[in-house]
């Protein structure tokens, strides 16, 4: 079971350039597989260009109470990168003037940022249509000071999106750590108790499923039915939607793929499953990812590879919607993860 981040372990993969090199060498260098750029060229979608920004996804920091084996953030208790109140204020200033309709807070465990509640209260006052917090669930049970999060979420009409890799204990704990399944179940019950996820409720509770291994997620609707049945039959738990998300070959998941000798097969699987229809709806088209230090990225994955926005505007303090529209999106081979099969985004399948 993992206890430390790649960074703490001083793994070579903690170096993002090393990751990008791996993703560009070998099977992609010798033309065994086409690069993502050449695949986009074949369908006349290169360079990849964005639509209007609709979603601001803000990473409040890489600190997390869990050390999940697949984590693309390389998050964990040993990560100290945390968004400051000053940067949060810059995000709020942008929210006030922009047309963004969805605010999506992520991490690490965003709730561990000491200014998390202040930020949520301030952002709630500004008002967005959809205010998402990506909660790992176990944080709610981790410490007394987090036990009232379900009530706090309810008070601010937060849309809770939570990770749940499987409806069985074994599979969940294998990916996310010993005891995660039980704590997640208890947290889901607490959320249900305050009204989250129940049939007629406006308090939205969605779950995120990502495969615990070197394979793609199956059909999102079938998985949702299986999850709903199992969680209700076994624990009386209800939720709204299941988002099936593909693991992208970066950070700790890349480390796992390499160590288990699954890397090449996994890249083959992603490339063979390339779906041109998914390209139209990839999340980088309508999302901007804000790093803990205020730097801007086309998506959370690019953030973790330190692929900053192309162009003159790289920081939240310079946010300009018009400039954003004219940029081209930074791509590399990891992007195949978002275009495989039914596609993948932070909102699940895209086709």
């Amino acid at each position: 079971m993992l206890k430390k981040s790649l960074k703490q372990r001083k793994s070579e993969l903690a170096n993002t350039q090393r990751q990008l090199d791996i993703l560009s060498n070998g099977i992609f260098q010798n033309n065994e597989l086409p690069t993502f750029a050449s695949t986009l060229k074949n369908i006349n979608a290169h360079p990849l260009q964005p639509n209007t920004v609709e979603i601001l996804q803000i990473n409040l920091g890489y600190m997390c109470n869990q050390v999940c084996a697949h984590c693309h953030v390389d998050a964990g208790p040993d990560r100290k990168e945390i968004m400051t109140k000053a940067t949060m204020q810059q995000c709020l200033d942008v929210l006030k003037k922009s047309k963004v309709h969805t605010l999506d807070l992520t991490g690490g465990a965003p709730e561990m940022n000491p200014n998390f509640r202040w930020f949520v209260e301030e952002a709630h006052k500004i008002g967005v249509n959809d205010f998402i917090v990506r909660s790992n669930l176990t944080i709610i049970m981790a410490n007394k000071k987090y036990n009232d999060l379900p009530e706090f979420f309810k008070k601010h009409n937060i849309h809770v999106v939570s990770s749940m890799p499987h409806w069985t204990r074994n599979k969940t704990d294998q990916q996310r750590g010993e005891g995660v399944f039980n704590a997640s179940i208890e947290a889901l019950k607490k959320l249900n108790n305050v009204g989250y996820g129940t049939k007629e409720s406006n308090l939205k509770l969605d779950l995120v499923y990502n495969p615990s291994g070197a394979f793609l997620p199956g059909d999102q609707n079938s998985l949702e039915l299986d999850f709903k049945k199992a969680l209700y039959d076994d624990f009386g738990i209800e939720f709204h939607q299941l988002f099936a998300i593909t693991n992208l070959p970066i950070s700790r998941f890349l480390d796992y793929l390499l160590a288990s000798e699954n890397y090449e097969d996994y890249m083959y699987t992603l490339v063979e499953a390339f779906n041109p229809k998914a390209v139209d709806n990839v999340m980088c088209k309508n999302t901007i990812s804000v790093g803990w230090d205020g730097f801007l990225y086309d998506c959370d994955f690019n953030q973790m590879l330190n692929l900053k926005l192309k162009g003159p505007m790289v920081h939240i303090k310079d946010f300009d919607e018009e400039l954003l529209k004219n940029r081209t999106i930074q791509i590399a081979q990891h992007c195949y993860g978002c275009t495989a099969g039914a596609g993948s985004s932070c909102q699940g399948s895209v086709v």
């Binding site: 499923y209 059909d219 079938s222 998985l223 083959y268």
Partner: protein
């Protein structure tokens, strides 16, 4: 370099069989695709049947393919192993039921 009859990389080349007979290849893959669609049986149930049969016909390509397919569908390892046992039970049963033929013959020839 060691050579084997089976190469995992050949599974990716399966569709190449159409290159030497496009009509039959195409008909087979159309049929194959249709068989595994949702029907009176769910695609999930069919995946488990395929996994059991893969073991009975001892097809390493099919075992790889339907283990991965099962994982993608969220099928548990317990379900997969039970499917393999169902296949193995039929296969061993098919052997053992011939024991009746052996007994019949034995009895016929014996005084």
């Amino acid at each position: 370099m060691s050579k084997t009859y089976y190469d995992p990389a050949d599974l990716k080349k399966f569709t190449n069989i159409s290159e030497w007979n496009e009509e039959l290849g195409q008909k087979f893959f159309d049929y194959y695709g249709k068989v595994f669609e949702e029907g009176a049986l769910s695609a999930r149930e069919k995946s488990l049947i395929a996994l059991a049969v893969a073991h009975v016909v001892k097809c390493p390509y099919c075992i790889d393919a339907y283990t991965k397919d099962g994982l993608q569908r969220g099928i548990t390892k317990e379900e997969m192993m039970e499917a393999v046992h169902a296949g193995a039970a039929i296969e061993s049963g098919a052997t053992l039921v011939h024991g009746v033929q052996m007994m019949n013959k034995y009895n016929k020839l014996s005084m």
